[in-house]
């Protein structure tokens, strides 16, 4: 009992000095939290400048963000995105041209600028970007093939393709190695 009384007295003495509460409790917890925030997410981060922010550009960004293993972060300008890529705050950066929606709706080609740092995950992220881009460009590619086969204007080919209702013949399912469901996200600390 004496031991407990001494322990109690010492603890009261230690924690009466408020700074000790910080160093014994708050600081370690804060460091753990910070470590978790900084290193706990193994996903690749992609910075995005949406440009005109039309529905197609939004759709593309959402398609990227919904992928397991990838997080998107919006940036206001190309220069701020470039800075973030250079500093390694994001693995890669995507600048969607401001007339992206208009070009695609008109059946024209649109371009996306991809900021990549050679020593980052950018080449891997690019594969995911290309997958999202090819999904979005699927109908337009089909329309171009229709026009080359049948002739006529691209607008009429787009109209023809848009009228087609077809479910994707090939689906993709991500599974865990155990054969079970793949968790949506899992940090390195889990």
């Amino acid at each position: 009992m004496r031991v407990l009384a001494i322990v109690r007295t010492e603890l009261i003495r230690i924690f009466r000095w408020r700074a000790n509460v910080f160093f014994f409790l708050i600081m370690p917890m804060g460091l753990i939290l910070l470590l978790g925030v900084v290193f706990g997410n193994s996903n690749a981060r992609v910075g995005v400048v949406k440009g005109e922010n039309g529905p197609l550009a939004r759709q593309l960004v959402e398609a990227l963000g919904s992928q397991s293993g990838l997080d998107t972060k919006s940036y206001g300008s190309k220069s701020s995105l470039e800075k973030a890529v250079e500093r390694g705050n994001v693995s890669a950066g995507l600048v969607i041209v401001s007339n992206y929606d208009r070009l695609l709706r008109a059946g024209e080609s649109a371009s996306i600028r991809y900021f990549a740092r050679p020593d980052s995950l950018a080449p891997q992220v690019r594969i995911a970007v290309e997958a999202a881009v090819s999904a979005q460009g699927s109908n337009l590619t089909a329309a171009r093939v229709v026009r080359s086969e049948r002739g006529g204007t691209l607008a009429s080919a787009i109209e023809r393709v848009s009228a087609v209702k077809v479910s994707s013949p090939v689906g993709v399912q991500l599974l865990a190695a155990s054969g079970g469901k793949y968790p949506r996200s899992r940090g390195q600390f889990q």
Binding site: V38, E86, E130, L140, V170
Partner: protein, 383 residues
């Protein structure tokens, strides 16, 4: 000025004699910078080749499409044999992920029934799973495009083969153009040398301003106040002690880590400007916290807490800016983050103009905290 210099000289002699300043300003940051730089090799997953497995249950032409797709990517695709083996290899980490091409996949692109590609991934290797899933998704988009074009053209199975060829060779309507950027983050050696230097700077400068409270409790402040010394000289002397200790600490650490650890601080002029501004900011923050305390013990405790919190948020222990969100925003209120950000910009060999923003922010912090400290510090030097 002479009185201020005498006070500074006395303080510095005192600190050199008891070795406390040397330990806090040089030994501790050097030891930690060395330990952290040798244990932490990098902060982000660098580019690497991903190893994917392929389980071909289709035995058709689809597999060759996947092998062709990975040709220009940082990916090695190899036959994983059976599904069970692929799962085992992914689970053991021998493969980053695996693709299972189902029976009938090749036929699906020619109007066959719908199928599903399974991607086996390990949640601990999110990027591997992302890469494999992206290849599968690209193939699925390709087949969908064929299906849409074929339906629109009311094509038969023979025509579908031709359409598949056209889709494969069609120029994609959305192109992704690469723009290579330079690397502007510090290597671990330089990062921890700079991060520890600025972290311990906040402890080093405490020996100056906060010693006013010691002088008060020991009665020596009263003696100074009755002596023919202007009060401003007392303050100036203490501030100069802080600045001298801060500057010495930073310069010694920069030079030692440069030559002993091989840290690359960047353009000496730019580094010098950043060091001076960081020392001013640290001295001003320390002065402000000191004026809020009633006793030297309280001041020491508060200063330690403030230094540790600012250090944690400012990226002294790890680069918090990479976390994004609230943490990255909060880090911008710390002088540490601006000092390190200035060094990052300098590290890529940029012109001195790249440090204008961090220098101005550090000076603004110094000005704001210094002004508030000056208003409050009168309380400390009243007899």
């Amino acid at each position: 000025m002479r009185a201020a210099s005498l006070i500074t000289a006395k303080d510095l002699r005192q600190r050199l004699r008891d070795r406390s300043a040397f330990l806090v300003a040089v030994v501790a940051p050097l030891a930690l910078a060395f330990a952290l730089s040798v244990t932490i090799s990098g902060f982000s997953a660098g580019s690497q080749t991903y190893h994917l497995g392929l389980v071909d249950l289709d035995h058709g032409r689809a597999a060759s499409g996947f092998y062709a797709a990975v040709k220009d990517a940082p990916v090695i695709l190899r036959d994983a044999g059976t599904l069970a083996r692929a799962r085992r290899l992914v689970k053991n980490g021998k493969l980053d992920a695996a693709l299972v091409l189902p029976r009938g996949l090749s036929a699906a692109s020619r109007g066959g029934s719908s199928v599903r590609i399974e991607v086996i991934g390990d949640p601990k290797n999110a990027i591997g799973a992302l890469v494999a899933r992206s290849f599968a998704a690209s193939y699925a988009s390709y087949v969908r495009t064929i299906a849409v074009a074929s339906r629109a053209l009311e094509a038969d199975r023979v025509a579908m083969i031709r359409i598949a060829g056209e889709v494969a060779s069609a120029k994609p309507p959305i192109s992704v153009g690469d723009i290579s950027t330079t690397r502007k983050n510090l290597d671990p050696k330089t990062y921890y040398a700079a991060a520890m230097a600025v972290f311990f700077l906040f402890f080093a400068v405490q020996f100056g301003i906060s010693s006013l409270l010691n002088e008060r409790s020991e009665g020596t402040l009263a003696r100074m106040l009755v002596a023919p010394i202007p009060r401003l000289s007392i303050l100036g002397g203490k501030a100069m002690t802080s600045l001298a200790l801060g500057l010495t600490s930073m310069v010694v650490l920069a030079l030692t880590t440069r030559y002993a650890l091989g840290a690359h601080w960047g353009n000496p002029l730019g580094v010098g400007a950043l060091i001076v501004c960081a020392v001013l900011a640290a001295t001003a923050v320390t002065a402000l916290v000191t004026t809020l305390a009633k006793t030297s013990e309280q001041a020491n405790a508060w200063l330690a807490i403030v230094s540790v919190v600012l250090g944690m948020l400012g990226g002294s222990f790890f680069p918090v800016a990479q976390a994004g969100g609230l943490v990255a925003t909060l880090s911008k209120i710390t002088p540490h983050a601006w000092f390190l950000s200035g060094l990052q910009d300098l590290s890529s060999g940029g012109a001195l103009s790249v440090i204008v923003e961090p220098v101005l922010v550090l000076l603004a912090i110094a000005g704001a905290c210094g002004a508030m400290a000056l208003v409050r510090i009168r309380r400390l030097i009243e007899p």
